[in-house]
Symmetry: C3
Subunit: 303 residues, 3 copies
């Protein structure tokens, strides 16, 4: 099975480091400083760019928050507002989510939102993560993730709540819920989402070991549905979308809701407790220490 080979090669540890170094080395090496500044300005004004084609009813959401599309409170807020707008537009029937940042789809939850913050602020952040999950997992639209880069932790989750996952077939990229490796724990609804896709046992191993899978291994366990060369990822996503949109819409929506409802209800009815649980865990001194060490390791990688 894929995880045993992943385990043997020890890829999960190097994988974790690789999306970070690739995220940073890209900034350091390939892009002139002036461009970085421009990019960041652009990013601070708008972390998400939406292209909506009224003729096809398909929106493409480009995540463009340098350097690695971290899911900060600002990012999540903008994400949810964009999603709501599209959801309310009757003409919008399909959503493709992709990244404008090279080599990374999304690096997941922004560690800065979890380190050295007040319990209130941590709670607000977590509520925004829940909101993103609830809105996207329960969306009536067809949702396709065009995963054109690495996608660890919350980045992986973002793709898991979509209806279909197409990943760039680049062995340098990796994907998985690797929270355990950071000393933190994927909550039950991350777990439920993953389990709905890859089953109990793959989830058990994935979460206990914090595994990151390279694309070919992700395909084997069904974590992604399809691999394509990176330059064909949007074309393929668009073609796939048109097939999904050919399905009678009302019947598809009811069916999607039937499949996801119990998983969604579980979070809805435990939302406050889940926030309390997160806040009390993340503000523990030992966990804060882990996060600090982790960030220092990242800084050394960049230096």
């Amino acid at each position: 099975m894929a995880f045993s080979s992943a385990l043997r090669s020890g890829r999960r540890l190097s994988g974790l480091a690789s999306w970070m170094s690739s995220g940073s080395s890209r900034g350091r090496v390939c892009v002139p400083p002036i461009l970085i500044t421009q990019q960041r300005n652009q990013s601070s004004s708008s972390k998400i760019k939406v292209d909506f084609d009224q003729s096809t009813g398909v929106a493409v959401m480009h995540m463009q928050s340098p350097p690695v599309n971290s899911l900060s409170l600002d990012f999540l807020t903008e994400f949810c507002i964009s999603l709501e707008k599209l959801e309310m537009d009757k003409g919008c029937r399909g959503l493709i989510i992709t990244s404008s940042q090279p080599k990374v789809f999304s690096a997941g939850l922004d560690i800065l939102e979890m380190y050295g913050k007040s319990p209130e602020r941590c709670g607000e952040f977590w509520k925004a993560v829940q909101e993103m999950w609830l809105k996207l997992y329960g969306s009536d639209m067809v949702t396709i993730a065009a995963i054109n880069g690495s996608s660890p932790a919350g980045g992986c989750l973002l793709s898991l709540v979509c209806d279909y996952r197409i990943m760039a077939d680049n062995p340098r990229y990796s994907i998985g819920l690797n929270e355990t490796l950071l000393g933190i724990v994927a909550p039950f609804w991350f777990k439920d989402t993953l389990q709905n896709i890859v089953g109990y046992r793959n989830t058990d191993i994935s979460l206990q070991l914090g595994l990151l899978y390279k694309p070919s291994d992700a395909l084997k366990i069904g974590l992604v549905d399809q691999l394509v060369p990176e330059d064909q990822i949007l074309t393929t996503a668009t073609q796939t979308m048109s097939k999904w949109l050919a399905i009678p819409e009302h019947a598809r929506q009811i069916t999607k809701s039937m499949m996801r409802q119990s998983t969604i209800d579980k979070l809805r009815s435990n939302r406050e407790a889940d926030i309390q649980n997160f806040v009390s865990f993340i503000t523990k001194e030992s966990i804060q220490k882990s996060l600090r060490m982790y960030m220092e390791m990242l800084k050394q990688k960049k230096a």
Copy 2:
């Protein structure tokens, strides 16, 4: 994974049409008119023929309702009476279900029972569908589906409630819960039955897209257990049955019941609500319109 290739080839749409055209072209082209008449008379008197071999304890149920073994109210009533008789006969320990109609196992629920009928009649029909499912899924007998033709929607369901599925290895045949393509929705207990066999993710994709699988793809996801050349299907089913019947019977029955009980209980405790749900959905004007268009498409295919 199998569904992505099924998706790419667009087989689900052509597959849906193919069992229809094959059902009709058979009548038009290959069989002399006199034979058709005889067949239909025979069929009107008895839609199901049961051969019970007392020496082996195995009954073979031949579905013989031309042209495509549609699950009408009459068919379902006769099916359940036959099943009850076998169930009460202590000597009958195994049941093989197969089709006497060429190229089709069963085309599923009879659309004529859902179009232009009173709510009362629709409710009566749906109750009979539930009854068939409850009786067969909860049967103490070993049940094997010998799928010697296409098996869409309710025809697929009929095979899913058996203990084991052997399908004819003919790429022209297809199988799957493709209700969504007709603009209708597979109810939760169709979904549960499929999910018990192929898991959550395959069910999600199958139902959202209304996929029909050719035999080799059905085998890949475990929708059927075994493929054999069409002329060996009954021999193989009989041999498989004798292996199942060699298992200590009481222990096997308790085990089967333990595996299926929670799924059965879920329908039993929601039976009335499920009927109401079906009736209010199927009698909607928009759904009736979908069904009418669908039947007109079928007529044009036959013409």
Copy 3:
């Protein structure tokens, strides 16, 4: 799928017999009488030998109860005491379970504990089986089964509750929950444990038919995680363990608990009813007769 080939070859029946004959032929043919005596003395004083390496934090539990590590009440009691000791030792973080008996990991529940015993004694025995399951499945330690021989029924269960299973790649060995073949029924928590690993459908077929899988088939359905040559099994288990122990411990433990909790709670809240259920089933005259016939068949094999 693996089970259809297993079914076709009729391996489950021969497999069941093979660990028995191998267990006995070893005693009769290969080992001088004096050695058997020594071994048995050693075994009577201690059915389990624990080697704990404080430098690595890893304990290896050698099951050494001749001839086939049957799970008797005495064995289970000693097993649980050993496990508790390790669990309380903060320095012990990983547990490898293996067998000192040739050709067999464990033959499962000791039939002598179920035959001709009082209801009270049967209840006491069953409580000990539950205890073993609860302690091992809920363990905070990383647990790896090094399956160096056949592992039917309760022996298979013992490996299923571990975090990871490495099996000797010897086609003469087999593994599976084959209770049905003995005319008895795997209880719901055996079923839940198996289903968590191989999914619903594989569990359905496995339990209904009492299938024993040879190692390569067990690997295919995920019943074991890895196959290695028999002489490398402990080395591989030790290497795998060191990778698991490199994962942040607290996060891994919480994750493990999240994955297993609902399955554990289900037995905890039904423990008494499950004991009553076992006792009333196993003390039935018909079941006692099955067990007697089974033991006579074993005796004839040995003779």
